[in-house]
């Protein structure tokens, strides 16, 4: 049976710019998403027409938070939100991460770290590999809940200079959850496939209804067309590469 979905208004508590162009938005309310699930978010009228999909970054008794980068019209409008403003949220949506069996690695690139934090909280002792184009962010939060945490960035701030796929090695892991740029995911898949590590990736696609009705977010997989909003956003990597 399909899980119920709700459409709710929530009050913005904080909308903090972590590094230029990247924000953590917190909203008040009672939410119950599984790690890796997402919400459709909007804070405007008719234009732009569509909600924007964001993974739940964190959940607490006070509310929910979302990590986003300014990419276009929707995220530019979100970036202007102040405490006290209201958001409309539809969710929770999508499948979320599976229950891991064996030692788990989390690999995120940029705002692709968003769906990994709840996973780190839920699946204790997971190691996290976080890559950033510029100055790293939210690393300390990961350190509070993850096993070991490694950081890579283009100029070497916070750790390794280079990409996250240079610090991650699949040895010793049974399963890996990843989110980030497609090239990063493809590279990880190469590594995990050779090492016999199960890789699950969280995909992003332009999305309209979020409920599975419009088929706007379909990706082609080895099992045929699949909806990022329903069968995903988490897919086994061997299905998509």
């Amino acid at each position: 049976m399909d899980r119920q979905v709700s459409l709710v208004r929530a009050e913005v508590v904080e909308n903090r710019e972590l590094v230029p162009g990247v924000f953590l938005l917190r909203a008040r309310g009672n939410f119950s998403a599984q790690p890796g699930q997402f919400y459709l978010v909007r804070a405007w009228g008719l234009d732009p027409p569509l909600f924007r999909p964001f993974s739940a970054f964190d959940l607490s008794q006070e509310g929910i938070s979302f990590l986003y980068a300014i990419r276009g019209r929707g995220t530019s409008l979100l970036a202007r939100l102040q405490p006290g403003h209201s958001l409309t949220l539809l969710g929770p949506l999508g499948n979320g991460w599976p229950q891991p069996e064996g030692k788990l690695a989390l690999v995120g690139g940029g705002v692709g770290i968003a769906p990994l934090y709840l996973a780190a909280k839920a699946f204790r002792e997971a190691d996290a590999y976080l890559g950033f184009p510029g100055r790293p962010y939210l690393v300390e939060k990961f350190r509070e809940v993850a096993g070991r945490v490694w950081v890579a960035s283009e100029r070497g701030q916070g750790g390794h200079r280079g990409s996250v796929t240079e610090i991650f090695t699949p040895d010793g892991y049974r399963v890996c959850y990843a989110c980030g740029p497609r090239e990063m995911l493809a590279r990880l898949w190469e590594m995990c496939r050779r090492a016999g590590v199960w890789l699950y990736v969280s995909l992003e696609e332009r999305m309209a209804c979020g409920l599975g009705a419009c088929l706007g977010c379909t990706v082609f997989t080895r099992s045929g067309p699949q909806r990022v909003c329903r069968e995903g956003p988490v897919f086994p990597a061997q299905e998509v590469f």
Binding site: D2, Q4, P49, L50, G212, C214, C217, T218
Partner: protein
Amino acid sequence: MPDTSVRIGSLVLKNPVLAASGTFGFGGDYARLYDVSRLGGIVSKAITLRPRAGNPPPRLWETPCGLLNSIGLENPGLEAFLAEELPRMRELGTAVIVNVWGEDPEEYGELVSRLSLPGVDAIELNLSCPNVRGKGLVGENPEATARVVAVCRRATDKDLWVKFPPQGEVLQAARAAQQAGATAISAANTYRGLAIELETGRPVFANAIGGLSGPAIKPLSLRLVYELSQVVSLPVIGSGGIVSWQDAVEFIMAGAHAVQVGTGNFIDPLCAPKLVRGLRKFLVQRGLGSWELIRGCAHRGGISGAA
């Protein structure tokens, strides 16, 4: 209590608000959010004889107050629809209209023949999908329209709604559909539109042209419904950018018997049930017993008695 129902051919809808094809799946996805039996009816995603995978991503592109799509008729095919989706649709407690798309008149005929089943309340012939490469739009052409409708009329006793594109010789094609035995005119599908990626200089969609919907097109579709309702005697079902009950009232005043909500479902997932409520309230507040007095009133000098 006003009578909010409307009659389209042999079918009585409890209210004039339908979910438009391609935006509502087979209804079950939205049933996770609200009781879809509140709607007047649900028009299914287009069904084809064989399954179709649709177009590669991206399939969506926003424009100011508009949405371009290039889905490309992704659907499970007739067999799977009959086995899995139709039985579930029938349980949703509202009228079931099945939208179909065929490669040629014979395929349309086979589809409607095999859909002549209890629980299918009407069939909507999709003569207007903008997202199939290399195919002209049947509904832009009166002769092609007449051929498809005539074949389907022979193949089924079901009510046949004909969904037209908003461009081409639509007024003549709608008259041709009426002569060939159509039950109602659905107007309209999306406008053929285009977006180009500045970085690459290429169209954003693999098929280049997509279909434009949303509030951006509402005045255009309203004008089309206004014109259509003067040239055919069949009921007209209006669609194109409807997002509020006020929009829906405008379409009814322009001559529509019912309206379809498409992109409005994406702007507000509760758009359609809000329309149902808003329209009922409108009748009550205006002291109207039914839609008769205001349907098409824009052609008759407005609401009778209005100053």
